[in-house]
Symmetry: D2
Subunit: 312 residues, 4 copies
């Protein structure tokens, strides 16, 4: 390897250095700050080339190589980059965040220190309805009057909880016990460090429309304002191959191929054999897998065979 | 390997089968249940013997081999055993628990389901003072009158929080948002699975006297009532080599060796060179490392050289 | 949770118990044996239901739920199952195998024991040519005469290496040093344990047509003969959603949608804007990403727009 | 946290920058090169202070805090630092190295590239005898005449293996298959990245006197020439609390305490109750645990009670 002779310089990313340490606000009182990083797009390429050999250089420019790696899930070169953030997050969003086990984390301890005197607040216009279609999500907003009442209640409850916490501390109760009735949405802070491969996985899950809005706000900021600056070629490939990707199962591929070849009957047969076309009194029985397939066929501009004519 | 010819039977541990699925209570409303396990002491031994070769059998019985492995931190054979628990834990203890990243976890989602209607309650006699000696811990109890007031306050706050949660749900607020002001000590449930090596590490940290009392109650139960039944030889070795162990640093070893050889002056010189014997107006300056050394010397029945005579 | 009252039985999988400990041969002298397991399809479902709540039961049977989980990459419930194998593998295939870092492993140590007296041998008809299209793979076979010569050379080299190893041992050389010139394809043995989620990831990579033939033989056996018996619903879903899946990038989705809607010009414009249609002297310049897209379009029965007419 | 207002600079370690990219030789043809790093001693301290709160600053200087963290196995702050190396290592040492699963690795692929034309060679004076006391290790050297013969044999075998490899390639055999009979000690290269906590664990195991000499040479260089420059306070604490530490089991502590208090009979009773003092025809039966205890008592200058007088 001919790097041996060269005098190495550490990799610097000017675009990221410009926002180093800057407080990027999220939610009403949260933030994300970049503390440090290691590597860049070039470090991904360098690691891939040590694996695949010098010949790689001739056939691929950096951008093509990064796209190739991401497309084919050659993930280890992306592990060569690290990002270290300082974040301030409501504990109930943090409970989701911390499930990503590949991170290194140091969180403020409320055994050692008094809990941060801030809990996430909800403006009157931001109360969300339970989603009807989706058991985990939310959709739409409550009206202004209801929202105002809920916001008032929220303020009173948060004040009540804080008063009790303070009184416990004043009476000498241990911090580790005094905190027990603080609201779940009390803010916490942490240093959080992750490699780029695992960070992209985190972003794919947490920028997704099924993720809870609060953590999605953090993930979107980290992706669009930080990762996009840090590793622009990887970010572009990630956007194309993960965020914008469509995955077809074996069955879906067969249906799409039948439709692509103009054979609607064959597509229907495949769906029928899979048990997707059972009827109840009110038409087709509900089938979550078929619903997802319909969305994909629509995205591919293919007519849904069992919808295109009433009498399947 | 001569097992090839034998008809394999799955490993069963009768002593653990007897409590399979049983609800072992912890705190006021928590529990631990054993759901399944893989392996036993014999599986540890079997894995060690594939590594070290058949000859191991001649020189070591199972107990000696397990002690040897644990003593010398040959940890991989202990990974061959798995324990799967169903637990019910206050979320603030769970926040500590979940930091152990080597577990597999499925926790009840309060996005999908309504939060468990139980928060940990504190009896009047159980309010603990902040530790003076230790910034993170607790020591002693508040008196009965103060405890009764705090318990009454706790009940009111928990009722307030629950009422607000219920009202949000009744107005149609999404579960993922309604939960945000629930108390940190609201109970949650999870399936939690870990291999024996990582479980012992969890127990060493969480059974320790510095661990918070709540999680210590869970860890102690898991260790003494579950692991001790499941892998008795490993548990015995763990008790001897981890729970009951004393670790001496290079410096402490040198001081203890000087004292062991009867050379108190040498011990003092070593401590002085390490900067441990600086005086302020009120005697020796505070030094946390020296404090820990003193405790170890005392445990070894060695006189603390800088304490044994007033004029060091 | 209503399991509390039930008397728990450990999960047993009769179809897997039938082959427990059996030596399933691979390559000329390798094998895979199932030593133990934890969980089954039901354990995946049980873990998912603790997360998503009891309501899940009403809307999904086990098969639909497992398909849903796999399709949407809800991976944690699959971690609740474990498989423990005893394998005998050439060290050069093992070098690829061991890269999967989520396994627990105990490998025979050639520091403690004498190396296994077997190296993988190649029959005359099994020498493979270097792939032309693919820098890492192989394709086609050498002719019989050349194969016979190579096999004879292989035997002599392996004998030479073994003779040197034996002589070193006889002279008293340490086993850890004597082994240093053994062939890479010398067999080794190990206990290898992994959870089902990570096992599926291993299988997806190592059953793939790009994986080296030797490790593919092991992976295929583990998948088709072991996992398929152990967790048949998961295996079926895995086959549909991973092995048989097609992933389309944002760009590919746009091209397929243009073609699906009958707009070949739009598809060409998209490809041209992406830089895929640059010409050299001999037609379209080589472009690996476009090649992969062509294969996918063909699989979907869509005409490749830049191939369908000569003058793009 | 008052860093918010400051303009952050990336952490630089001048002492490490001085050797960045430099080829540090190991063995006859191996090397280690520092490619990049993240963090320093200050980053460890910073992470600890976010956990334990600002108050930490008043009671502890950086050195004391790092010593405290290492002593009490507060490991997460050390994860905030990363080191990335480029290494060239014989594959049989690499087989041990790669067992550390917490690293990120990109190794040269001999499927893509022709194998490095170098295998580790042994000078005549470097052939080691199998250890008598220890089933895995080596001790002493073979005499010059025997060594010269073995070195000559080694050269012939390595040439034979290389010739066969070359011929296979010339006949068009796939690289992935041609390599199968290369010697285990053929050199490979890799990028290898690890956080400081896991790196210290690697060093503790691989700098140990029980580690094989070849990997110990790499570990010692990484520790003494790289880590010592990069994080000098951590290195000093590691040397004191890990490399130089003595761990006493519960039993050993009891024996040492009896001896510390001058009660030899009590020490004997404890040992006898533990089954350590059984006699055979030739005196005390062999007992590995007792042997290790003897070594520790000697290090503490305590007379071994069952050795100090002939008739126990």
């Amino acid at each position: 390897m001919n790097e041996k002779a060269e005098r190495l310089q550490r990799i610097q990313v000017t675009a990221l250095d410009e926002i180093l340490g800057e407080t990027l606000p999220v939610l009403d009182d949260g933030f994300v700050r970049v503390i440090d990083y290691m590597g860049n797009d070039g470090a991904v390429v360098q690691a891939a080339r040590v694996s695949y050999g010098a010949g790689t250089k001739q056939v691929s420019d950096d951008r093509s190589l990064i796209r190739y790696l991401l497309r084919n899930r050659h993930t280890t070169p992306f592990e060569m980059c690290e990002l270290k953030l300082h974040v301030r997050v409501p504990m109930d969003a943090w409970r989701q965040w911390i499930r990503h086990r590949t991170a290194s984390v140091n969180e403020t301890s409320t055994r050692y220190s008094i809990a941060i005197d801030a809990a996430q607040r909800t403006p009157p216009a931001s109360w969300r309805f339970q989603a009807a279609s989706n058991r985990q999500g939310s959709e739409g907003r409550l009206d202004a009057a209801a929202g105002a009442e809920l916001t008032q209640q929220e303020r009173e409850l948060q004040q009540h909880a804080r008063t009790v916490y303070q009184e416990r501390l004043e009476r000498g109760v241990a911090r580790e016990q005094a905190r027990k009735d603080l609201p779940l949405c009390t803010y916490t802070e942490a240093y959080w460090k992750m490699d780029l491969h695992n960070l992209l996985h985190f972003l794919a899950l947490r920028m997704d429309s099924h993720a809870q809005q609060e953590i999605r706000a953090y993930a979107t900021l980290i992706g669009e304002q930080i990762v996009a600056r840090w590793v622009p070629l990887t970010w572009e490939a990630f956007d194309d191959y993960r965020l914008g990707a469509v995955g077809l199962s074996r069955l879906e591929t067969a249906i799409a191929a039948a439709l692509g070849g103009g054979d609607r009957q064959k597509a229907l047969t495949i769906a029928r054999d899979a048990g997707w076309l059972k009827h109840g009194k009110n038409g087709l029985l509900r089938n979550r897998e078929r619903d997802e397939t319909e969305a994909k066929l629509t995205r591919l501009n293919l007519a849904i065979p069992w919808r295109s004519e009433p009498d399947v």
